[in-house]
């Protein structure tokens, strides 16, 4: 397969000005756009988290009214999931997938431009609901009917269209990645030679294609229930609100793997580099990723143990859920085995990666606990759940993104980041994030419900500690912004290989990576 010819041979440098960014079809430009968009959304969603933690600093209602608090929890969830984590992962894929498989660009560069430029409009539409009469979405990021249909604010229709647009964007991005991986690999780059980041994204893309349309379907049903007299989720018309949860979680469970599988890929790139060993069990990593993806489709109702499912259903979903622990354990084992007797050094990307393995696994274990149907009755809708999914999404997906940025930013900008500042950012975040989320396990087990702006007095101490951790973690991310800008502006020149003994095609192109790379396909042995 030769990739010597490309679509955009006719221009060689980057056009200047704002039009460069609007009309760009270059995978590196689009990757950069995605990453900045994700960062902005991350800061907006993070500011909302600060409002939540400020309100929960003390019992009682002091800063915001309950409806606005609910809006904050909802928008925080939506922006972080659809605005920050997912676009950041797509941004990494845009930058890295072509570089890692020796392709000159993504397979469908024009569609790539589209899939990015839909995002800001969807994001603005979603955020604009905050300023509408009746306020923004206030029913939780899972938007359960009838809260999101019968009892929802008027702005919900804008939320629905924003979700439609985000879905379009993700689907186009996913199609692009699949086409790139299948058609654009350099000669000799067989599927089983592909770097794991590419593999995990390839599998994630299939998950996206399978479930984003279901999400589009469920919000469409909400739309017609709200405006056109249908009764999909209304018992009065013969529908069923529990049906909403089934359809939603049929999307929702694969969605959590959409956010974590690319993170697994990132970690599988970073650890071998800094352990100076080949990844242990490459093919088992690929198969484990594929099994996790498959299993994610058949476990959705473990989010619904308290809906009054029959025991047989609870048992099935419980055992199926437990099964996911097996391929996940294979991955954790392989990362550990890769580090075993490696010549490890702890540059910033490695710190994020090692902490990922440790902290993500804590989140995985609490997930296993709540997969046990009888005990989930206690955990359901408490802060224990909040602690669980923040361990897998913040110390999991987000830490992997941080690791990836530190790992690849020398290739993107041509400058090494400031190692000392990077380490400060890491330790600051890693400590504060545990102060923030670990106590939430305790207050959750003690019975504090999630999504409530007030709480009884016995939860006060841990909530205050959690809030303090939250403010510190939030501040750390502004520091991260400073590090990024500093790295873009200057710093020690990065070499081509950047990291000692780093393997992979991305380390064969100069730093910063030229606007066009691999115009002639590299040979892969």
């Amino acid at each position: 397969m030769s990739t010597a010819t490309t679509h955009d041979e006719h221009h060689h440098g980057a056009p200047s000005g704002i039009m460069r960014w609007i009309t760009t079809t270059n995978h590196k430009d689009i990757g950069t756009l995605y990453l900045w968009f994700a960062f902005i959304m991350f800061l907006v969603g993070g500011a909302m988290a600060m409002v939540i933690r400020a309100e929960l600093f003390q019992p009682g209602l002091q800063i915001v009214d309950p409806n606005f608090f609910n809006t904050m929890t909802t928008m925080h969830g939506l922006l972080m999931v659809f605005g920050a984590i997912m676009p950041a992962m797509v941004g990494l894929a845009n930058w890295q997938v072509p570089l890692m498989i020796g392709a000159p660009d993504m397979a469908l560069p024009r569609m790539n431009n589209w899939s990015f430029w839909i995002l800001p409009f969807a994001g603005i539409m979603l955020v604009s609901t905050l300023f509408m009469e009746g306020g923004g979405p206030n029913f939780g990021w899972t938007f359960y009917a009838p809260l999101s249909t019968t009892f929802a604010p008027k702005s919900t229709d804008f939320f629905i269209f924003a979700v439609h647009m985000l879905g379009f964007s993700s689907i186009m991005g996913a199609i692009n990645i699949i086409a790139t991986v299948l058609n654009m690999r350099a000669p000799g780059m067989t599927l089983m030679k592909m770097p794991l980041f590419v593999w995990t994204w390839f599998i994630t893309a299939f998950l996206l294609i399978a479930v984003m349309p279901v999400l589009a379907g469920v919000v469409t049903m909400m739309l017609t229930d709200r405006n056109f007299g249908t009764s999909f989720f209304s018992a009065a018309g013969g529908g069923d609100p529990v049906l909403f949860q089934h359809v939603f979680w049929f999307f929702g469970h694969p969605e959590v793997y959409i956010m974590i599988l690319p993170a697994f890929g990132v970690i599988s790139q970073i650890i071998p580099t800094f352990a100076r060993k080949k990844l242990f069990g490459y093919s088992s990593m690929v198969y484990a990723t594929a099994s996790i993806a498959f299993l994610s489709f058949i476990v959705w109702a473990h989010h619904m143990f308290t809906t009054g499912m029959p025991v047989a259903g609870e048992l099935y979903f419980m055992y199926a859920t437990m099964m996911i622990a097996v391929p996940t354990a294979v991955k954790v084992f392989n990362w550990t085995a890769t580090m075993w007797r490696g010549s490890m050094t702890f540059e910033t990307p490695m710190l994020w990666a090692v902490s990922f393995v440790f902290l993500f696994t804590i989140g995985g274990f609490t997930g296993l606990m709540m997969g046990v149907a009888p005990v989930d009755m206690q955990y359901h809708d408490t802060y224990f759940i909040v602690a669980h999914f923040h361990y897998v999404l913040v110390t999991g997906a987000l830490f992997a993104i941080f690791g990836a940025v530190y790992y690849w930013i020398p290739k993107w900008t041509g400058h090494m980041y400031d190692e000392k500042l990077g380490k400060i950012h890491f330790w600051w975040s890693a400590i504060s994030v545990n102060v923030l989320f670990f106590p939430q396990h305790f207050i959750g087990l003690a019975g504090m419900p999630r999504r409530i702006p007030d709480y009884s007095l016995q939860f006060a101490d841990w909530n205050m500690i959690s809030s303090l951790g939250g403010f510190a973690f939030g501040l750390a991310q502004l520091f991260f912004l400073y590090i990024i800008i500093k790295t873009i502006k200057g710093g020690e020149k990065a070499t081509t290989q950047v990291w000692e003994d780093a393997e992979g095609l991305e380390w064969t192109v100069p730093s910063p990576a030229p606007y066009h790379t691999f115009a002639t396909a590299p040979e892969v042995r």
Binding site: T5, A107, I175, N183, I209, G217, S231
Partner: protein, 196 residues
């Protein structure tokens, strides 16, 4: 790969994946009837069954066993009706056709239509609880300040699992959705009939 081949290959992939996307969009909607069918077969949703009167009378009565049936009633907050069962609970033999009455009255000066939705607990008993006649089969209309008895004739299937000694049947009256376009109502009614 030559540039022409590449374009063709990309096109092929995009077409195939677009078909998958459309199919999955359809699948999301297909989950709606699938869910109803699944709940109907397994009877896990508290949705009770309907059988013909002759079939009900043909069932053998199990004189050795008594099942307590409790009747509950609630009214959706948007429907200005009073609604209650005339008997709170009775004990019946499985297989025995029994008739009870609910009472509903309209507290407003307007004619109002309502639709009752049944739910049976425990869920496992739902498919063994069959009705031959029920006010919930159709929408009910009450004139200004009109009140009337709402009959319900049911039979508990003798196959009802041994461990179930009490079942609770609840009805919630909702305002019938007049605002909906005509087709939607007939579709909903069709759907209701298949469920009730």
């Amino acid at each position: 790969m030559e540039s022409g081949d590449l374009t063709a290959a990309n096109k092929r992939i995009v077409t195939r994946l677009a078909v998958v996307v459309l199919a999955m969009f359809g699948f999301g909607f297909a989950l709606v009837p699938l869910y109803d069918v699944f709940c109907d077969i397994t009877g896990i949703n508290g949705k009770t069954g309907r059988i013909a009167a002759e079939e009900a009378l043909g069932q053998e009565v199990d004189e050795n066993r008594l099942v307590t049936v409790e009747f509950l009633a609630s009214v959706n907050s948007e429907l200005p009706w009073e609604f209650r069962p005339l008997v709170k609970k009775i004990r019946v033999h499985p297989g025995e056709v029994t008739e009870v009455n609910y009472f509903a009255s309209n507290r407003t000066g307007n004619t109002v239509a309502g639709q009752a939705i049944p739910s049976l607990a425990p869920g496992v008993a739902a498919k063994y609880f069959n009705k031959t006649e029920c006010f919930c089969f159709t929408r009910q209309t009450l004139g200004p300040h009109e009140g009337k008895n709402m009959p319900l004739r049911f039979v508990v299937d003798p196959e009802l699992p041994e461990e179930v000694r009490t079942v609770s049947l609840s009805y919630t009256f909702y305002p019938a959705q007049d605002a909906a376009p005509a087709e939607t109502i007939s579709m909903e009614q069709g759907k209701l009939d298949s469920i009730l």
